[in-house]
């Protein structure tokens, strides 16, 4: 069993953090989408775009997720700004 998650970033958030995705070993204590977001925001600089109060949405395994949505190894998590299609 792996504790790695795949993380994707889109649009302005992708530009802010400077990459479109990564694989990450879930740090101890990070068990939800919200906790992962806080962890990433703590990297500083462009990662501040993920900080609390910023307008960020999240998806877990390609479905919209709430901050308390539980994470598991092998999951695909995505962070992005509110959508603007159509």
């Amino acid at each position: 069993m792996t504790s790695k998650v795949k993380i994707l970033y889109f649009a302005s958030l992708r530009e802010a953090v400077g990459c479109s995705g990564e694989e990450l070993d879930l740090p101890a204590g990070v068990a939800t989408v919200g906790a992962l977001r806080s962890h990433l925001a703590g990297r500083g600089e462009g990662w501040q775009a993920l900080a609390a109060g910023r307008n960020v949405r999240a998806a877990l395994n390609q479905k919209m997720a709430a901050p308390d949505t539980a994470l598991d190894g092998g999951d695909e998590v995505a962070f992005f700004p509110p959508v603007t299609g159509g």
């Binding site: 999240a58 901050p67 509110p82 159509g86």
Partner: protein
């Protein structure tokens, strides 16, 4: 009872290529005699937004999730109205003013359902399908901000009909923090 579309014909397409509006509309009623109404919507790239000129825009999306989100919106529309055929096409990549962005077509027995479902699909697509627009303006490139009016347009469908829920999660990540 309702056979949505001819076998093998996709209801949802996410593509860079343009589409033929006339052919798509014709296909919605093709090979059947129970369709009394076809309503459609076409979204185009405007040459101006928020007070500045737009030379072009690039639509980014989340491959995989985008298709799933659109399919789910179509399923929700079918659960609310009795629809005979549905077609949604959304383009991605770089597009210029007057280019087509999105097509929604709905066939039903009577016009009321076709009109309503077409508008519902567009309202939900605007707030739930993972697409993002980046505009090229004389002042440089800028990401388009989500509009409050799109949220309220989608919200007016809630509270009536079956299950519009679960899209509520879009706001949760902010609201619950």
């Amino acid at each position: 009872m309702v056979q949505a579309r001819a076998q093998g014909a996709a209801e949802v397409s996410v593509q860079h290529e343009d589409f033929d509006v006339g052919a798509e509309i014709a296909r919605l009623g093709e090979g059947r005699r129970d369709v009394g109404a076809v309503a459609s919507f076409v979204g185009l790239v405007r040459d101006a937004n928020e007070g500045s000129g737009v030379r072009a825009m690039t639509l980014e999306h989340y491959p995989g999730m985008t298709e799933r989100a659109l399919e789910e919106i179509v399923e929700q529309a079918k659960a609310r109205w009795s629809l005979l055929a549905v077609r949604v096409i959304h383009r991605h990549g770089r597009l210029e003013p007057a280019d087509r962005i999105v097509f929604v077509g709905v066939a039903s027995a009577h016009r009321g359902e076709a009109f309503a479902a077409c508008e519902f699909i567009m309202d939900y697509l605007k707030t739930r399908a993972p697409f993002w627009k980046c505009e090229e303006t004389p002042q440089g490139a800028r990401w388009v901000d989500a509009r409050e009016s799109d949220d309220s347009a989608a919200a007016r469908w809630e509270g009536s009909g079956s299950q519009a829920a679960d899209g509520d999660d879009w706001d949760d990540i902010e609201l619950r923090r």
